[in-house]
């Protein structure tokens, strides 16, 4: 690929970041994490209180990518066919016709995913992992850039179905928005003056889905040196040895870990992964797999701090 094309794509990526930052005020880290997941082709689980902008983020992302946006509001009586779609009999043509469900979109927002039954949750499994659904023994492919943002509410636990481990493993990161800081919130308020509708300004698409796929391909080709990879393996071993991670860490998750690290390096205009990358994405990744409650992040950070960063090697040793 030519340098110009690559530079142009990068510019689009930064435009996307800027656009999202305009919508979600004061949360650049969250935006970065979202983009990392997007580049690594991993899905996001957002866990936060209502009204903090989860849906806004998803819609803004869909709009900026120029892709199709769909939303499922998960309720206990939601059925799998409501998610995947179903066959109806067309009286005129006298044949079954397929009505595609919300998964046939580019960006899917599954709101309050833990409110629906495990049966419906499982319907998303195949879609998330393999980007296809099987209806009546017929596999139907989803969009190549299919991307799920699921949300769940952490406080109101009554009548919820916690996500099974199989489902959790298909997510790449678990993120939370949190309250905006004082400045951002006051800016939000000042911008709201004069706008009757709750809708914020419309976002113009900054890149096409093809561009996104191109970027994803490039991100996956970022190089990972042996030093960094062995450090990643140390981290993996430490996680698996920790009793808080009773369910372990699947090779799929480890693969996702490396992809996320590559995506972070790509996002920072680097051609190689540095030890900062796996550590930076580890919190989001490991939040999904840790068991128990309490201050999960501090446990993860303590775990990461235990593992030494790979030492600075003299180049002579590198050469050999």
């Amino acid at each position: 690929m030519s340098i110009d094309l690559s530079g142009c794509l990068r510019q689009k990526l930064h435009d996307l970041e800027a656009a999202l930052n305009r919508v979600i005020l004061g949360k650049p880290e969250l935006v970065t994490s979202t983009l990392i997941c997007l580049l690594a082709r991993g899905h996001i689980l957002l866990e936060d209180l209502p009204g903090l902008g989860k849906t806004t983020l998803a819609k803004a992302l869909a709009a900026a990518l120029g892709g199709q946006f769909a939303r499922i509001q998960c309720t206990p009586d939601l059925l799998p066919s409501d998610v995947t779609g179903f066959q109806v009999f067309d009286q005129n043509r006298r044949e079954f016709q397929f009505l595609p469900g919300p998964v046939f979109s580019d960006i899917l927002l599954a709101d309050e995913i833990n409110r629906t039954s495990p049966r419906t949750q499982s319907a998303l499994l195949e879609a998330m992992a393999e980007r296809q659904v099987t209806i009546d023994n017929q596999a139907r492919h989803l969009s190549e850039s299919f991307f799920v943002i699921a949300t769940q509410n952490p406080v109101d636990q009554h009548g919820t179905y916690p996500l099974p481990e199989a489902q959790l493993d298909r997510f790449a990161m678990k993120l939370s928005l949190g309250y905006p800081d004082r400045d951002s919130e006051s800016r939000l308020l000042s911008e709201a003056v004069g706008h009757a509708r709750q809708e914020r300004e419309a976002i113009e698409p900054v890149m096409s889905l093809n561009d996104l796929q191109q970027l994803q391909r490039e991100a996956s080709s970022v190089s990972v040196s042996d030093t960094v990879r062995s450090e990643l393996m140390d981290l993996v071993a430490a996680v698996r040895g920790n009793r808080r991670f009773a369910n372990g860490l699947s090779p799929r998750a480890v693969l996702m870990w490396q992809r996320l690290a590559q995506a972070r390096a790509f996002l920072n205009d680097r051609k190689f992964v540095i030890p900062d990358d796996p550590r930076a994405v580890a919190t989001g990744l490991l939040r999904l797999r840790i068991s128990g409650h309490g201050d999960v992040d501090s446990v993860i950070n303590a775990l990461l701090d235990e593992i030494p960063v790979s030492p600075l090697q003299t180049p002579s040793r590198l050469v050999s």
């Binding site: 190089s223 051609k271 190689f272 540095i274 990461l304 235990e306 090697q313 180049p315």
Partner: protein
């Protein structure tokens, strides 16, 4: 250390018990050692045991604190080397190394105790403590005389060891509280109950076997052999098994009346070929070289020769001189019926003592001559304390130098002598039942003889003498005495035939210092021992024409080997050159190897003749100096405290004499020490900036490493789980050239080799240089104080 968190009370109990065990073991070992050698002062093992106990408790509290565990272990390990240090100190300082096995035993016991107490690894600790117990057990079983305290200690050790094992085991396997599976909990509980019992059993069996094997006076194979049926008899013989009257120790037992002992029945009285001291000299060292009267001889004609028929007369006038040139010692042919010569003298008492029989003060380069006539009235007082025994005391002032009295019982057997064979610094003596002090006179300065006769064979003598303390000798000022005594000039004479210039050169090259002190004497003796080699079979056959300068010149500058009288003579020559009044003494050396178990005495014959040197101290006392290698001196052994004091004494003297140089040197060392980081830093910077022609990747990594080193020197090291970018930009918020250095660093350290840097080489170099210059130690220390 994690164990402390599990159960501190249990840990404390274990440590206390282990400390007591170690103390017990050391107590027993020390006892065994001291009873075997009778060398150290009697309470020192008590102090050592208590010291070990205190160290152990201190160590416990420090480990409990959780700080400095490694440092403490290191310190204690170093402290344990003190016996080794002492060993080398004594060896280098006095030229004689103390028995090595004693040192090693002590080192081992200390090491075991320390390892047992401080090693974090529980398995090693257990092995160490068991070893300490077994060493203690072996030592215990080798003690002959048992005291109640010892038995109590051993009992304590026996009780404590199993208790400690159970505790250790409980400590190593804390009760698992979060165990969910009951079966596993049951299993571990049963193993907990079983394991210590097994170990205690093993220990007891092992201990019993060791005890039986070591304590039993018969060899183990004898014990085992008795299990096998045989025709009888174990094949053992005991050379001490004697029977009959006047046999064994009774034969020479010292008693008052010589006529009542076994000697009256022996053949000694039938033919009185008792040998004088000079006969013994001839037997040991060969006969003196007789000077030829004529240089050349020619045979006479047969007609001029008149056969005499008689045996030529022997020269019995060997008298009171001792010639250094002697004829080869001819080995006599022995017939089968010949019996070994009986001893000349039998002695009971402290071994490694010298019994003086004659002394020489004048030397003409070739022969020694006996002392000047001594006209002192022999002023002896009779000690009235004991009416049965009549002790004669020599009137001599009590001196600080005396530290210990030793007594000897001497029985004159085959020696024809009128001189009382007495140790140096004789205090009082007893000769059979003699009560008349008029019978005694002076044979030399502070040497007693019996007047007008010889001691009859079988006479028993008892002597009490003083040993001098080495520490007091070191403290003695050789200049500040009461001035030269009356005898001083006799023992300071120089020797006209010795080449003074070459002796002086030799002394200069030995670098013994100019200040007269005991240290100088010891240095001189040890240099002399290194200079020449002891050779008892040196044949002094050459006459004066072959060796024109004399025996002593040849010994010092030529062959550099010879028997003990040459060593002693050379020492006198050198000591007098340095200004010490001294004399040559000869007599018997009580060699521990000459102890006859059969007679329970030291049997001394002509092979025990020895020559040594005596120095006249300013306090008018003589001190024995033995320059011959392999012979210990007669000074009283010092305690550790005394040795430390001697060290301190000389260190202080050295300090005051060199204080300017010491001040300058320590100033330099202090400056270097305080500025060591800056010096190293400058050196590395110079290397990295000026000399380095590295490839860019290597250069960046080395720069980065050096800056990391500076950070850790400034007390802000990068935590092990923290990346460079996070630490520098996040925690430290460094600025300046950091922004351009960090991406370079990440590229150099973590990218694959084929990835090229974004900047050209010279730009990389300039970034490195700027970083090294700006992110220096001062910058970091300022940063640190700001953060505080």
């Amino acid at each position: 250390m994690k164990k402390i968190q599990t159960n501190p009370r249990l840990y404390f109990a274990t440590v206390v018990i282990a400390a007591i065990m170690a103390a017990c073991a050391i107590f027993i070992i020390e006892n065994a050692r001291i009873l075997a050698y009778e060398e150290l002062s009697t309470n020192i093992y008590l102090y050592r045991s208590l010291g070990c106990l205190l160290l152990a408790l201190a160590g416990y509290f420090l480990t409990f604190w959780g700080k400095g565990g490694k440092a403490i272990t290191l310190l204690l390990a170093l402290a344990c080397q003190s016996p080794l240090t002492l060993y080398f100190y004594e060896g280098l300082r006095f030229g004689q190394f103390p028995p090595f096995e004693k040192t090693i035993l002590f080192v081992i016991e200390c090491q075991i105790a320390v390892l047992g107490l401080y090693v974090v690894n529980a398995a090693t600790r257990r092995i160490c403590m068991i070893l300490a117990g077994i060493v203690g057990l072996i030592a215990y079983s080798s003690i002959q005389e048992m005291t109640p305290l010892l038995s109590l200690t051993m009992f304590l050790l026996t009780i404590l060891t199993p208790a400690w094992m159970i505790l250790e085991h409980a400590l190593a396997n804390p009760v698992i509280q979060f165990q969910s599976h009951e079966t596993e909990a049951l299993k571990s509980a049963s193993s907990r109950r079983f394991m210590p019992l097994l170990r205690v059993g093993c220990y007891l069996v092992l201990g019993t076997i060791t005890f039986t094997v070591v304590k039993s006076d018969r060899a183990i194979q004898t014990v085992l052999g008795e299990w096998v049926s045989s025709s009888g008899g174990t094949g053992e013989t005991n050379e001490l098994a004697t029977s009959g009257v006047g046999d064994g120790p009774n034969e020479v037992s010292a008693s008052k009346d010589p006529q009542t002992t076994g000697f009256s029945d022996s053949e000694i009285y039938l033919e009185t070929d008792r040998s004088s001291l000079f006969d013994a000299f001839n037997e040991q060292y060969g006969e003196p070289f007789k000077k030829q009267k004529f240089e050349r001889m020619q045979a006479m004609g047969a007609q001029d020769v008149r056969e005499n028929g008689d045996r030529p007369k022997e020269n019995l006038q060997a008298g009171r001189t001792f010639e250094l040139s002697r004829q080869p010692n001819q080995q006599k042919k022995r017939n089968l019926q010949d019996r070994q010569a009986d001893a000349l003298v039998y002695v009971q008492g402290e071994p490694e003592t010298r019994l003086k029989l004659s002394s020489f003060d004048r030397f003409d380069g070739e022969s020694w001559f006996t002392e000047h006539d001594c006209t002192d009235n022999c002023s002896l007082t009779i000690e009235q304390k004991n009416p049965d025994k009549c002790w004669f005391c020599l009137n001599r002032p009590l001196s600080d130098l005396n530290s210990k009295t030793v007594s000897h019982k001497i029985k004159i057997a085959n020696l024809e002598t009128s001189v009382l064979p007495s140790p140096n610094n004789l205090w009082k003596f007893l000769v059979g039942g003699i009560r008349q002090s008029e019978m005694f006179g002076w044979a030399g300065v502070q040497m007693i003889r019996v007047r007008d006769r010889n001691f009859p064979a079988g006479t028993t003598l008892e002597t009490v003498s003083n040993r001098l303390s080495r520490r007091a000798l070191h403290e003695l000022h050789f200049h500040s005495g009461k001035g030269p005594t009356r005898h001083h000039e006799h023992f300071s004479g120089r020797f006209s035939q010795i080449d003074t210039a070459s002796v002086k050169n030799l002394l200069d090259s030995w670098n013994v210092g100019s200040e007269k002190s005991w240290l100088q004497v010891e240095k001189l003796i040890s240099r002399l021992q290194n200079h020449a080699r002891l050779d008892d079979h040196q044949q002094q056959t050459m006459n004066n024409t072959v060796r024109p300068k004399g025996a002593i010149d040849d010994f010092l500058f030529g062959a550099r080997k010879g028997p003990d009288y040459l060593f002693a003579t050379a020492a006198v020559v050198l000591l007098r050159e340095l200004g010490y009044p001294c004399r040559l003494a000869s007599g018997f050396y009580i060699d521990p190897a000459s102890y006859s178990e059969e007679k329970a005495h030291y049997a001394l014959n002509s092979g025990n003749l020895h020559f040594w040197v005596e120095i006249l101290l300013p306090t008018n006392q003589w001190v024995v100096v033995d320059p011959t290698p392999g012979f210990t001196d007669e000074l009283h052994s010092d305690s550790l405290y005394d040795i430390a004091w001697i060290w301190f004494y000389y260190t202080r003297a050295w300090f005051f004499s060199n204080y300017i140089a010491i001040f300058l040197a320590s100033l330099t060392v202090m400056t270097l020490f305080l500025k060591r980081r800056h010096i190293y830093d400058r050196a590395v910077c110079l290397w990295l900036i000026r000399i380095m022609p590295f490839q860019p990747r290597r250069q960046v990594v080395l720069t980065l490493r050096h800056i990391e080193w500076r950070l850790s020197c400034s007390g802000m090291p990068r935590p092990k789980g923290c990346t460079i970018r996070r630490h520098w930009l996040g925690t430290l918020s460094l600025n300046g050239p950091t922004a351009s250095l960090i991406p370079l660093a990440e590229w150099a350290a973590y990218s694959a080799l084929e990835i090229e840097p974004d900047q050209p080489g010279n730009e990389i170099r300039s970034v490195c240089r700027r970083s090294l210059e700006e992110l220096n130690l001062n910058h970091f220390s300022k940063l640190r104080s700001e953060k505080k």
